[in-house]
């Protein structure tokens, strides 16, 4: 059943086995899984069926580090950020769970065996039909250290489109739209939660009881929500050790440099991956997925760009833009550009906390400090140099590394990938993280976290498929079933 609080009355809210906050890929996956085993689920979605300004503006966040565009990169309505994801699926490697990052936060407390069994189911959810996924590549390895990457691509699956009818007809799921989770409460003296409070956009507060609670609102929102829940725990739910929000990670999109190639100069394209052999040989190196491709359109800089801009403006005013197109977009021997999806090591210096600003529903807004550490920059330097050497040694052409790649003392050009991770990280104990090996919040008997906020490291995998693997595993845990 789907109920829109903007237009419908509030239905009876009782008898729920679980309450899930957030109807994105993780929340919908867990709700469907629990419902398929007969559990009654209350699923709260802060937005409606489609994008609205009133919902999206509640994602406004302050940024005191590198800008990560929180408001623009997340989608606050049914289906969550699956509404605009690109569909790339890339799993964790087994070694990602064994390796300790060269930073001040530990790696995973589990092995890949804990989620490997859920990969096929996750790919089915994402409509990836490949029978033997992640085993083929169109490109050869560049070297033992930089091997060909292997990925799969979802159509991409839009969870709102794919599951809307199922959610509407479900006898076990009550999906409330435009319902903003605002608080989780526990009885006095208890260590478990008993009810959730949520608000509609007219400010009316409602509450419901449930057996277990799952936060699945995205990495920034999960941390923000827990820090805002201060009625029963002054420092915020699960935050006795001050770890909520600590360890925010993105994937760096580093522009390593440019290249020219003698090998198929018009269509050259390679996608590379830092191998286990590379990481084993140098523990300061992290994962990176590097793409080398030829620009199909000329790119200009400096004086050339200024002249072109002027000519474009002039041409538009004169109404002869198409006649001058050859000046501004003419083809020429292509420049090769290098982009990447590079691991950010977990670090305490990169975090989400709360700003002093309050949103229209009375919740303090998040404040993000996204920081590239010296260890991250050094990893990028080493990967870039290895790439340059291997590219040249392979006889593929010439490569020019960006100044900030060659010299970690210089500024580095990089961008975000809209992959928010690590703010409620999984750890062995509460001094290093927020959730335990079962995604349960330390110190609370029935609060769980889903989504990429539980990632202890981000490696160089696209988060959507792995977070669905974790969501399916969490469902089994809640159901008291063995993951085997």
């Amino acid at each position: 059943m789907i109920v829109d609080l903007n237009s419908d009355g509030v239905p009876p809210l009782s008898g729920f086995d679980a309450c899930i906050c957030g109807a994105g890929p993780a929340g919908i996956t867990i709700a469907r899984s629990l419902a398929s085993r007969g559990r009654h689920v209350l699923l709260l979605e802060a937005g409606g069926h489609y994008y609205t300004k009133q919902s999206q503006e509640l994602y406004d966040a302050a940024s005191i580090g590198r800008e990560a565009w929180v408001n623009l990169t997340r989608q606050r309505y049914l289906g969550g950020t699956s509404n605009h994801w690109a569909g790339r699926c890339r799993p964790f490697e087994a070694s990602d769970f064994l390796r300790e990052p060269p930073s001040d936060l530990p790696g995973w407390p589990i092995t890949i065996d804990e989620i490997a069994g859920y990969q096929r189911a996750a790919l089915d959810i994402l409509d990836v039909k490949t029978a033997d996924p992640f085993t083929h590549s169109a490109n050869p390895d560049l070297s033992p250290y930089l091997i060909a990457d292997r990925d799969e691509v979802s159509p991409p699956t839009r969870f709102s489109v794919k599951y809307k009818e199922e959610l509407a007809s479900s006898q076990h799921i009550t999906l409330l739209l435009n319902a903003n989770a605002s608080d989780l409460r526990m009885p006095a003296g208890a260590d478990s939660l008993d009810r959730v409070t949520f608000k509609s956009y007219d400010g009316t507060a409602h509450s419901a009881e449930a057996g277990v609670f799952v936060l699945a609102m995205g990495a920034v929102e999960n941390a923000r929500f827990m820090l805002n829940c201060t009625k029963d725990v002054r420092v915020g739910l699960g935050n006795e050790y001050g770890m909520v929000g600590i360890g925010f990670m993105e994937h760096f999109n580093v522009a390593f440099g440019e290249f020219v190639t003698t090998s198929d100069p018009e269509n050259f394209r390679r996608s590379l991956f830092t191998s286990d052999a590379f990481l084993d040989s140098d523990r300061l190196v992290g994962r990176s997925n590097i793409t080398l491709k030829i620009l199909q359109q000329i790119r200009s800089h400096g004086r050339t760009a200024a002249i072109k801009t002027f000519l474009k403006d002039l041409a538009c005013e004169m109404g002869v833009a198409e006649k001058l197109q050859f000046l501004t977009e003419f083809d020429c021997p292509g420049t090769g550009v290098i982009t990447s999806l590079t691991e950010q090591f977990p670090a305490r210096s990169s975090y989400v906390d709360l700003s002093d600003r309050v949103d229209r529903l009375g919740h303090r807004q998040p404040r993000l400090n996204w920081v590239m550490s010296n260890e991250d920059h050094e990893s990028i330097r080493r990967i870039g140099i290895q790439l340059g050497k291997d590219f040249v040694d392979a006889g593929l052409g010439a490569i020019r590394l960006a100044p900030g790649v060659l010299d970690s003392q210089l500024p580095l050009r990089f961008n975000h990938h809209a992959h928010h991770m690590g703010t409620t990280r999984m750890a062995k104990g509460p001094a290093d993280g927020v959730v335990d090996q079962n995604c349960r919040v330390f110190g609370l008997g029935n609060l769980y976290v889903a989504g990429s906020s539980i990632f202890s490291t981000g490696a160089a995998c696209n988060p959507t498929m792995p977070l669905i693997q974790f969501a399916l595993r969490l469902s089994d845990h809640i159901l008291g079933r063995s993951s085997n």
Binding site: K389, V392, D407
Partner: protein, 64 residues
Amino acid sequence: MKIGMFRISRRRFIEGGLTLGFFAAAPLTLSTQVRPDKAASKIIDLDTHVAVDGWVIQKADSAV
């Protein structure tokens, strides 16, 4: 005003003249900003390779 087959506003004509005049008058300043090959090469030792202004080359090649 009309220039050849194009009609152009007076403001754009003046702005265009100033822009082109600027580029004509200041080529040296601009060229040092956008043409690093005018500056001394920066060489970084990469063990088996060197980077010359960012271009990675084998040491054997650099010796030749």
